[in-house]
């Protein structure tokens, strides 16, 4: 009996219940200034609680994927990584790209997450990442600018068009170029057809060329009506994100289409001006809201981590520990963890605009998007053709047909 007990205990130890030793860890993430500061503070608290030193490696969004790719290829990635949901099929198609977090379920309290939330972090049945939040695209408008012009916040696209020229000298009602243009066109076509770009059954483009061309024409009409800055105008600012642009900070661009979790990044540069979310703007005859909702960023552990138990302790602390939750607040959106969300709601630690934006995401109706919507090649093809249309290099009809062909080719290896 003693032998049996000893064997069972030993097996338990080998299965991953070894208490984590004090260790030096690395954690990488992307974000804005607010997230950087809050995460570093939370890491200091979590590190102290569990006796680990954690080196912080943080950047802006631009270039982060390339950085992670290089690190993973060279096996020099951080022990704990904040990864993007669409990266899962790229880095871990069979689930072996990151550590299986279920092996550390005695350390990470997975009961704080719903099965659906955890399923979003699985590849091939392996739990590769835990979603920090659910996120989605929301229309945000600069209320201060609209108030100053005596206009109500837009509730439909006609009102956005009507605001052109009425918000003040050189003030544009909205901006959607590059990635935002891709999302705006996608949302438009999804509203018109009820379908996501990618058919989950066949992994091919679900839209017809006519449907896509209609979405592109709708976007172009907004530019022509002066509701959206033209692609050429935005390119004139250089390769820079909207929240870093002077016209945005000065309130000369009065709206955008962004992730709900990115609220602070866009609201902070505005200073005293107030940025607010509005319900989904719809095209005529919309069959749904076209809401693009997905698991937000995930916390993952490197499969090469020397001490995955220690990394798991830190992840659990960041997601579920009351002290860390108080520090991190809604820096990654409204937390998916039940205990964290309840604590923040109880303490009023969530910015009302972030909460409102998140509620809009959760209430919005739309098909479940494929992570392949955000595959780099799909994005590149989509963006290149929209740009070509914007520069009058190709018609919307030809662009739609060629775009679908090229995206289908890019998706071939995922069928």
């Amino acid at each position: 009996m003693k032998l049996l007990t000893t064997t069972i205990l030993s097996a338990g130890l080998l299965a991953g219940t070894v208490p984590a030793q004090a260790d030096s860890l690395r954690m990488s993430w992307w974000g804005g200034d607010a997230r950087h500061a809050q995460t570093q503070e939370a890491l200091a608290v979590c590190g102290q609680k569990h006796g680990h030193q954690i080196a912080a490696e943080f950047t802006g969004w631009a270039g982060h994927q390339e950085r992670i790719t290089t690190q993973i290829a060279g096996r020099t990635e951080a022990d704990i990584m904040q990864i993007n949901w669409p990266w899962l099929p790229l880095f871990s198609r069979d689930g072996s790209g990151f550590a299986d977090l279920r092996e550390y379920s005695d350390i990470i309290d997975l009961s704080q997450f719903t099965d659906e939330q955890l399923a979003g972090g699985e590849m091939n049945g392996v739990l590769n990442g835990i979603p920090t939040a659910e996120t989605g695209r929301v229309y945000f408008f600069n209320k201060t600018v609209y108030d100053a012009a005596g206009l109500p916040l837009p509730t439909n696209w006609d009102e956005v068009r009507a605001a052109a020229g009425k918000l003040g000298d050189g003030v544009m009602p909205f901006e959607a170029q590059g990635l935002n243009a891709i999302f705006l066109v996608s949302t438009t076509v999804t509203q018109m057809t009820g379908k996501d770009l990618i058919d989950p059954e066949t992994t091919t483009v679900a839209w017809t060329p006519e449907e896509l061309a209609e979405g592109i024409r709708f976007y172009q009409s907004l530019v022509e009506d002066g509701a959206i800055r033209s692609w050429q105008q935005v390119a004139g600012e250089g390769n820079i994100e909207l929240f870093e642009m002077r016209p945005w900070a000065e309130g000369r661009i009065a709206g955008t289409y962004e992730w709900d979790s990115a609220y602070a990044k866009y609201a902070d540069p505005l200073g005293e001006q107030e940025l607010v979310p509005v319900p989904m703007l719809q095209v005529d005859g919309a069959v749904n809201d076209g809401t693009y909702r997905k698991p937000s960023m995930l916390f993952a552990i490197s499969k090469n981590a020397r001490n995955p138990q220690a990394a798991a302790q830190i992840i659990d602390c960041l997601l579920n520990d009351p002290e860390a939750v108080d520090i991190l607040k809604d820096s990654r959106g409204i937390p998916a963890s039940k205990v964290a969300a309840a604590r923040l709601a109880e303490q009023g630690g969530i910015d009302p605009n972030v909460q409102a934006a998140h509620d809009l995401v959760l209430e919005g109706k739309g098909p479940i998007p494929s992570p392949l919507n955000e595959h780099p090649k799909v994005r590149e093809v989509f963006g290149d053709y929209l740009e070509a249309v914007a520069y009058d290099q190709i018609s919307a009809d030809d662009a739609a047909a060629e775009m679908i062909d090229e995206i289908d080719r890019a998706l071939r290896s995922f069928r």
Binding site: Q65, E66, T69, T70, I72, A73, L90, F91, G97, W231, Q232, Q233, V234, A235, G236, E237, G238, N239, I240, R246, P247, P376, K377, E380, D384, E387, A388, Y391, Q393
Partner: protein, 291 residues
């Protein structure tokens, strides 16, 4: 230590660095160019497939055209400007030491991301250049949003980093024998004639050296387009190093990216060979018997 090993010991740090950071990656990329390698799984040998695909790749062709245009625009512009400044700094002016240092500084900072960011702000829609144009009553120019202007703006950034070429030109100018100018002056030659018929021929070895160095560097330009334009608009600034980077680290095609890198290497090599071949016609060395 025996003297025959001493030289080797002194060379060892450099040789080890060359081996680890240049030779091995160089050969590694040659191997990878014949494979399908997505960075996550092991490379799979595909023979010449990557090179065949390149021939039908519209993005590659566009990027190659843009790269050649950039090189042929930037290199002459930069060499001419560096020589022009070097000639001015060769005069005996008050505080010449200060000016020589001041004009060299941009090339110390030149390759950095910070300068590219600064350039982005200077030429942005509401940037310094357009503010000056507005002050002069001129229409603002869309420097980055217009495909033609965007490449030219990047070319200007590279031209502005003329310091290293300028210093080499300056050294060459100072080595020209002054008695030749005195003899030409006695014969009634103007300053311009002296420059064209004495200075230029005598510094052709240095012009040739700078030409090769600047051409190789221009083909490898990455920071400018990456930070300032992201390769746009309409891929008008999408230089080959940017395409290599995107294919390798965004699209996970390290094999294909290696193939592009090798094509770029062969182009640089071919142009260098052409430059060396043509140098027999226009580069004059000391003791050269040609008249």
């Amino acid at each position: 230590m025996e003297s025959r090993f001493l030289g080797l010991a002194y060379l060892a740090p450099y040789l080890i660095g060359l081996l680890i950071f240049t030779a091995i990656p160089f050969l590694g990329s040659l191997y990878l160019s014949f494979t399908d390698y997505n960075l996550i799984q092991s490379p799979v040998w595909t023979g010449l497939d990557n090179f065949r695909e390149l021939m039908n790749d519209r993005t590659f062709m566009k990027s190659l055209r843009v790269t050649l245009l950039y090189v042929f625009l930037t290199v002459p512009l930069k060499l001419a400007f560096a020589l022009f400044i070097a000639v001015i700094l060769n005069y005996r002016l008050r505080a010449i030491g200060f000016f020589r240092t001041a004009y060299y500084v941009p090339s110390i900072l030149g390759g950095s991301i910070a300068v590219a960011v600064l350039w982005r702000y200077i030429f942005a829609d509401a940037g310094l250049v357009n503010m000056v144009l507005a002050g002069l009553g001129l229409e603002p120019i869309n420097w980055f949003g217009d495909p033609v202007n965007a490449l030219f703006t990047l070319s200007l950034l590279r031209t502005w980093q003329f310091g290293s070429a300028m210093v080499i030109f300056l050294a060459a100018l100072q080595a020209v024998d002054k008695s030749l100018y005195e003899a030409a002056a006695i014969d009634g030659a103007s300053k311009w004639h002296s420059f064209v018929h004495i200075t230029l021929p005598l510094i052709t070895p240095v012009i040739f050296f700078n030409l090769i160095m600047q051409m190789v560097q221009a083909f490898q330009e990455f920071n400018g387009p990456y930070v300032i334009t992201g390769g746009g608009p309409l891929k008008s600034t999408y230089l080959l190093p940017l395409y290599i980077y995107d294919e390798a680290f965004k699209n996970f095609n390290m094999g294909y990216a290696s193939a592009i890198a090798w094509v770029l290497f062969l182009i640089i090599m071919a142009l260098t060979v052409v430059a060396f071949w043509s140098s027999k016609k226009w580069v004059y060395y000391a003791g050269d018997k040609r008249s």
